[in-house]
Amino acid sequence: MIQRPNRPIYLDNQATTPCDPRVVQAMLPFFTEHFGNPHSAEHTMGRFAESAVETARGHVAALIGADPREVVFASGATESNNIAIKGAARHAARSGDGRRRVVTVQTEHKCVLEAAADLAAEGFEPVVLPVRPDGTVDPAAVRTALEEAPTLLLSVMAVNNEIGVLQDLTGLAAMAHEAGALFHTDAAQAAGKIPLDVEAMKIDLLSISGHKLYGPKGVGALHVRRRPRVRLAALFSGGGQERGLRSGTLPAPLIVGLGEACRIALVEMEADSRRIAGLRDRLMAGLERAIPGLVLNADSERRIPGNVNLTFPGSDAQAMMAAMPDLCVSTGSACSSAEVEPSYVLTALGLSDAAAARTLRIGIGRFTSPSDIDAAVSMLARAHAMAAPQPSEA
């Protein structure tokens, strides 16, 4: 009999990551004794909070090779993506720019697709490109979309949240710029996981989420290029914080947490990646031994080490999850994981509904141990066997 672990094994690090204890330690004094409003620049406690916010801004900037003045804080990557996509389009329209096209990809996070769809109601022309079976977007298709009509913005995510695939940001940014368009990337799953350099890669707008890189939920950032200057319309107005681009009191403790998470990621990313890749290989070796016919979806090389998206040969994924309550994995992105519909990301790769229903996302993270992996392998193998329809001759 398998001993039940004293807490569930968490292998859903694309949905959210645990907050690093060092991040919690960094935040605590800003929740408690240093509770000043960072915009109360007129008194000592306000200035103290403000200076902590600015230190954090430096850490975020350093992780992505940006100037701190290019970092705008928001409540998360969803809001950052909304500010980037709607903000770029609306600013252009308000300044008399006639371009209306916004190009993105079928496998983007829901918030990117919905932000683009919202723009259609305002007279913009969102174009959503398919992906190839390996999950990458076809550069030729991007070039065609950019050339067909004057384009404002190309938005392609750095790392996919369900299948872990890396897109060629440098190539895509170059194509966007050749066509006179801006390039935005949703880097929620990439920041702190792969090296990013907005200067070298020529990225204009880049979104970051705190809770996807071992920081807290409720905070994120948007990189907005200064040279050449990218201008955006604010999503909402108010006190005019973040140079008018994002009003509302900055949540200093959460921002300190995001900054600390970025600082740690910059130092530890390489070692984390190597270790996580080893755990991924251990997981795959164990599963392939136990479950012949297992399929790894999307490109096997161009991916982050912390994600595998697996189609199981014989079992319904939801039934498997029900059979292993002590293992936290998912059937798709977290926001839509309560839905029974097949993942639109998997459908975009060309998976049938039946195959998509047999697919699990497994996300390995900084706090995953080899014994977690071994336990997960046996739980998955067992659940697969239990949930598989019994062959009639048996």
Partner: protein, 363 residues
């Protein structure tokens, strides 16, 4: 250092601290269906029920946001739907900026919204009215329930910014008869980074932040659970402790009596006000000079709203009250929930000292 700038941000309450820590340890995403996700979901829904119960809303009508500014912006964005916007003259920037072309309801010298003027504006056609419950600079409490009755009679919607009132006076969306109401975590003793829009009924909203379908399609993005749980903890504690506001009123009154003897004028003194707030104008002495002097003496007060960050603009609130001449010489003293008598006594001594030095220089 004595902190007397609660209206910029309240110190964290112990109940909020415990809730924040618990949320930071609950790793899951509330949208995930597995055990970790369900634990986070339970925490999120418990916070929703707390906020609903504290402020007279139904849990289904609570939409969590990143703070008061976003919640106010969402209300105007989603509810106005072609209605004419009407806002109070002393509203917070978050509301003024969300409705820049709105008709303005004037206030009288006491700082109270002029309901006759509101009735006249409402007669002009379908409107959405935004009226704050308590003003952030003066603490003046507007006659919101009366305004709600007027709005109902004219078929207008009423949106209430209760950011400064929540946790300091009883706030009840249903009892007020308003259509929507906003609260902010860090003004109640919760952490920065969470707010809520409370809706009467359960209307569908066109979200401001699109994507993911969270908050039942009304606000996209993974909810910021630590700040939300902290807000709920703070709201519970603040509402349970409303009786303590009488104690703060005593401290505030002592400050006003003493500073009055030094020549200060209290803006909004004739109106019903929050217990913790006083807006002290010292004629002829610049507000920033006063704030710097008090900061050097170890007292954290402000010259107005915190958000204007650095720029010392004359207060639109005092100007609307006909106190434009005093606008550049007023400081806001707002007592936090944990202020004690000694804080007020020491502030009085420092204020009298400062007033003596700076007023003499003016004279």
């Amino acid at each position: 250092m004595i902190y007397l700038d609660a209206n910029a941000s309240e110190p964290l309450r112990p109940e909020a601290r415990a809730a924040v820590l618990a949320a930071l340890e609950t790793g899951g995403n509330p949208s995930s269906v597995h055990a970790a996700g369900r634990a986070a979901r339970r925490m999120l829904e418990a916070a929703r029920e707390d906020i609903a119960a504290c402020f007279g809303a139904s849990p289904a009508g609570v939409v969590f946001t990143s703070g008061g500014t976003e919640a106010n912006a969402l209300a105007v964005h989603a509810l106005a739907r072609g209605r004419r916007l009407v806002v109070g003259a002393t509203e917070h920037e978050a509301v003024r900026a969300a409705a820049p072309a709105a008709a303005v309801v004037p206030v009288d010298r006491r700082g109270l919204a002029d309901l006759d003027a509101l009735a006249t504006l409402l007669a002009e056609g379908p409107a959405m009215v935004c009226l704050m419950l308590a003003n952030n600079e003066t603490g003046v409490l507007h006659p919101v329930a009366e305004a709600a009755a007027l709005c109902r009679a004219h078929g207008a919607l009423l949106h209430v910014d209760a950011v400064q009132a929540a946790g300091r006076v009883a706030v009840d969306l249903a009892a007020l008869g308003a259509d929507s109401l906003v609260v902010s975590g860090h003004k109640m003793g919760g952490p920065l980074g969470a707010g809520a829009l409370l809706l009467a009924g359960d209307p569908a909203l066109v979200p401001l932040v699109a994507g993911g379908g969270q908050e039942r399609g009304r606000r996209g993005g993974t909810p910021g659970l630590p700040a939300i749980a902290g807000m709920a903890g703070a709201a519970r504690a603040a509402v349970a402790g409303l009786a303590d506001q009488a104690r703060l009123a005593g401290l505030r009154d002592a400050i006003e009596v003493a500073s009055g003897q030094a020549g200060a004028i209290v803006a909004g003194a004739a109106a019903p006000r929050l217990a913790n707030t006083t807006c002290l104008a010292l004629p002829g002495v610049r507000a920033d000079t006063q704030v710097i002097a008090l900061d050097l003496a170890g007292f954290q007060v402000s010259a107005g709203a915190a958000c204007s960050s650095g720029k010392v603009a004359a207060s639109h609130v005092l100007a609307a009250m006909g106190l434009g001449a005093l606008a550049g010489s007023a400081v806001r003293v707002s007592l936090p929930w944990n202020a004690v008598a000694e804080d007020a006594q020491r502030f009085v001594a420092a204020y009298l000292d400062m007033a003596g030095r700076l007023s003499r220089r003016v004279a």
